[in-house]
């Protein structure tokens, strides 16, 4: 085990996979000479040369398409898109092509391609640079979707992604690049897709946190334990396709209450999908409706106080937990901060999530 940053864990995975397999090539805007917009690929050009670490023109759709074609005839390309927002320009190649080629050509061609992209709010970049779109990719059959929250999973999942025969959308988080954590640098550290991580065991309520929200959920769980005597279980699904629903359902069977936390928009979001799955398959286990805590249903604003209330924080999760547990949230001993003006609730909590949870949970 070695402690390292999320960013360095990603780089380690790329370096190891490139050393292991000559077919692995990197492509992306400013990944070579510049070292990557978030410095994930820094140093790899010097080690592997221009043929395997390729700076590309600013042509997202085409870069992904080139990765697809190269993957179809035997390379293992890893394409970096500077942020998830720019991935929208490549939606045609990701959805119409990468995801569908194996199916629409009757299994004759494979697309072992990884498309990496960071997402997330918190850097005051406004509406074109701050969103979370894992739900959009989750929607698409044919894609695998990974969203590592820890350095260990950053390395572990990226290595698994490079080795997989399917196209993988690999969603990183801009706020996590500097986060440190222990990383198992052996083969054992490769993280299989479809295996959730139980980040914290508990018996009172299940909190599922996606991407960065897994970490926020862990901190909220600590707060719930310390201040409210609530023993929360925190689950990080790690991959959204495939999804380790079994681990989530087993937890819900134990706690009978569940909250889904995501940074993206509420409508058609990851949480909406999980709520559907859980209520379809574990309805009888539930003592309260599954609650969602999501990003606000708005384009991400620039101004700091506005941005701050537009994505979930620990206090939101604590409040949601108290609600699904039937406790009066107004009794919660959360210190009010500017970010906690009651006003925002009307805008940012998924419609019908916490509000609806309240009356029923208190039955």
């Amino acid at each position: 085990m070695t402690e390292m940053r999320y960013r360095d864990a990603l780089k380690l995975a790329l370096r190891e996979e490139m050393e292991r397999d000559e077919r692995v090539v990197l492509m992306g805007e400013d990944i070579g000479v510049f070292g990557g917009a978030f410095k994930v690929t820094e140093g790899l050009l010097a080690q592997f040369g221009e043929r395997r670490v390729r700076d590309t023109p600013i042509s997202e759709n085409t870069i992904v398409g080139v990765g697809i074609g190269a993957a179809m005839v035997g390379l293992r390309p890893v394409v970096e898109l500077m942020t998830v927002n720019f991935a929208l320009l490549a939606f045609d190649q990701i959805v119409n092509h990468a995801a569908h080629i194996h199916y629409m050509f009757g299994g004759q061609a494979r697309v072992p391609l990884v498309v990496r992209m960071p997402q997330g709010a918190g850097h005051q970049l406004g509406p074109t640079h701050s969103h979370c779109f894992e739900a959009m990719f989750l929607h698409v059959p044919g894609l695998l979707v990974a969203a590592p929250a820890t350095p260990a999973d950053a390395r572990g999942l990226l290595k698994a992604a490079v080795r997989d025969e399917n196209p993988v959308v690999f969603v990183e988080h801009e706020s996590l690049y500097g986060v440190r954590g222990e990383v198992d640098e052996t083969e054992e550290g490769v993280t299989d897709f479809g295996c959730a991580r139980v980040a914290r065991e508990g018996s009172d309520v299940t909190i599922v946190g996606v991407s960065r929200m897994a970490l926020t959920a862990e901190r909220a769980a600590d707060q719930l334990a310390a201040e409210h005597g609530v023993d929360a279980e925190v689950i990080d699904p790690r991959t959204l396709r495939p999804l380790d629903l079994d681990t989530i359902l087993a937890s819900v069977a134990k706690t009978n209450r569940c909250i889904i936390v995501e940074e993206g928009w509420p409508h058609g979001g990851v949480g909406a999908n999980f709520v559907a799955l859980i209520s379809e398959q574990a309805f009888d286990d539930l003592d309260a409706p599954v609650a969602r805590v999501s990003g606000a249903d708005v384009p991400m604003p620039y101004s700091k106080p506005l941005e701050d209330i537009a994505f979930p924080h620990e206090s939101d999760i604590v409040r949601a937990a108290l609600l699904v547990l039937g406790r009066d949230s107004s009794a919660a001993s959360i210190a009010p901060t500017p970010a906690h003006d009651g006003e925002r609730d009307a805008h940012r909590v998924a419609p019908g999530a916490i509000q609806e949870a309240m009356p029923r949970a208190s039955r």
């Binding site: 000559e22 077919r23 090539v25 043929r51 395997r52 023109p57 042509s59 759709n61 085409t62 870069i63 992904v64 398409g65 080139v66 990765g67 697809i68 074609g69 190269a70 993957a71 179809m72 005839v73 035997g74 390379l75 390309p77 045609d92 190649q93 119409n96 092509h97 080629i101 194996h102 199916y103 629409m104 050509f105 009757g106 299994g107 004759q108 061609a109 494979r110 072992p112 059959p141 044919g142 695998l144 698994a160 080795r163 997989d164 025969e165 399917n166 299989d192 897709f193 479809g194 295996c195 991959t239 396709r241 495939p242 999804l243 380790d244 629903l245 999908n273 559907a276 799955l277 379809e280």
Partner: protein, 377 residues
């Protein structure tokens, strides 16, 4: 016609036969569509046969071809059995894409026909990517390590493969056209971009959709030199595409070839053709590439009238057999609905599909497919 030199007799006969097969196949496909044997869209290549045969006959077997949704002819020209193409149109299990693709999504990995793509302009980056992989193998010496993904192809390339990418005049207005030509020129990728200029994007004429109508020039500012050929003349098309391929193979930089042609039928089957006159179509039909080439060969004493007749009969027979094959082929098993969504791998666990509750019609097939523990297929 023809200032270009004629190939030897056997080759010339084969070209005529290949064009005739495409013509007869497409005509029959149109009939089958009218009889509701074929669903969806059906884009025929009637009138454009010289562009298909002229270009594909300039390819080596090891070269790759990437084309569009108008690609029955491309598959046939590369040697895909007509029965498998017709079965795909019929949506049958023996179709070349197992009934998952349809008219717009033909594929034959073994013959290095890397697809039929339904998105206008979507195929250009993919072709560049294939060329990149070929180039990479040559430079980094990955011989023997690549092509793992294509079953049945010769595992080792010859390090000389070139990719031919065809698309329509309308596709030259897509972002991928500019993006891909720039990138291919920048990275010196061995790819020939070939615009099949049939002078319409659906119902919009070239002059109404492109500010520059001399399409061979459209790559100039992107570092891709252009060439043009007469797409109604199989000899001229073959000559120019051969030059382009040789140039790309040696110089290792892309070339844009424009083939001027005309489609005799509507864009797809549902096209009242109000955007052009009957006279215009009739004028172009006079330049029909198949009788023109047949007459030339006869004139040159390479074949006689009886032989031309025989070629046509062979094509009709092959198409008859293709229809019979397609008719006999079963519809895909309902269980195959979930096949090939993913390559199922040992390291993948968990649920791929949103819910394991199968629609009743699936006979519970989804239950096993929903979890991919490696045993799903």
């Amino acid at each position: 016609m023809a200032t270009s030199a004629l190939p030897d007799q056997e080759t010339a006969r084969e070209w005529l036969a290949a064009m005739t097969l495409i013509r007869r196949f497409e005509e029959r496909a149109g009939e089958m569509y009218a009889r509701a044997k074929i669903g969806g869209f059906l884009h025929l290549s009637i009138g454009e046969e010289a562009t298909i045969v002229g270009s594909t006959r300039a390819l080596r077997e090891s070269d790759y071809l990437v084309s569009t949704y108008r690609s029955h002819g491309d598959a046939l020209a590369r040697g895909t059995p007509p029965g498998k193409v017709m079965a795909e149109l019929f949506g049958r299990a023996d179709g070349c894409s197992k009934g998952h693709g349809g008219s717009m999504h033909m594929f034959d990995a073994q013959r290095r026909f890397m697809g039929g793509y339904g998105i206008v302009g979507g195929n250009l980056p993919i072709a560049a990517g294939i060329a990149l992989a070929c180039d990479q193998r040559r430079a980094v010496s990955l011989a023997g390590k690549m092509n793992v993904s294509i079953e049945g192809t010769n595992a080792d390339g010859n390090d000389e493969e070139v990719t031919l990418c065809t698309f329509g005049d309308g596709a030259t207005n897509q972002g991928t056209f500019g993006e891909t030509l720039n990138l291919a020129a920048l990275w010196r990728l061995p790819v020939v971009f070939m615009v099949i200029n049939n002078q319409f994007g659906m119902g919009t004429s070239l002059a109404r959709h492109s500010a520059v109508t001399d399409l061979q020039r459209k790559g100039e500012s992107l570092g891709v030199p252009g060439m043009a050929c007469d797409g109604m003349d199989v000899l001229d098309t073959h000559r120019v595409v051969s030059q382009a391929l040789a140039h790309v193979r040696e110089e290792r930089r892309p070339v844009l070839v424009e083939a001027v042609t005309y489609r005799f039928r509507g864009h797809s089957m549902a096209d009242p053709e109000e955007y052009r006159t009957k006279e215009e179509v009739a004028q172009w039909r006079e330049r029909d590439p198949i009788p023109a080439f047949g007459a030339l060969l006869q004139e040159q004493g390479m074949i006689d009238a009886a032989e031309r007749e025989r070629i046509d009969e062979e094509a009709v027979r092959a198409v008859d057999e293709a229809v019979a094959f397609a008719e006999e082929s079963p519809f895909p098993d309902k269980k195959s609905l979930y096949e090939d969504v993913y390559v199922l791998d040992h390291q993948i666990h968990g649920h791929y599909h949103g819910t394991p509750r199968a629609p009743a019609s699936l006979d519970g097939a989804l239950d096993t497919q929903a979890r991919a523990g490696g045993d799903g297929q």
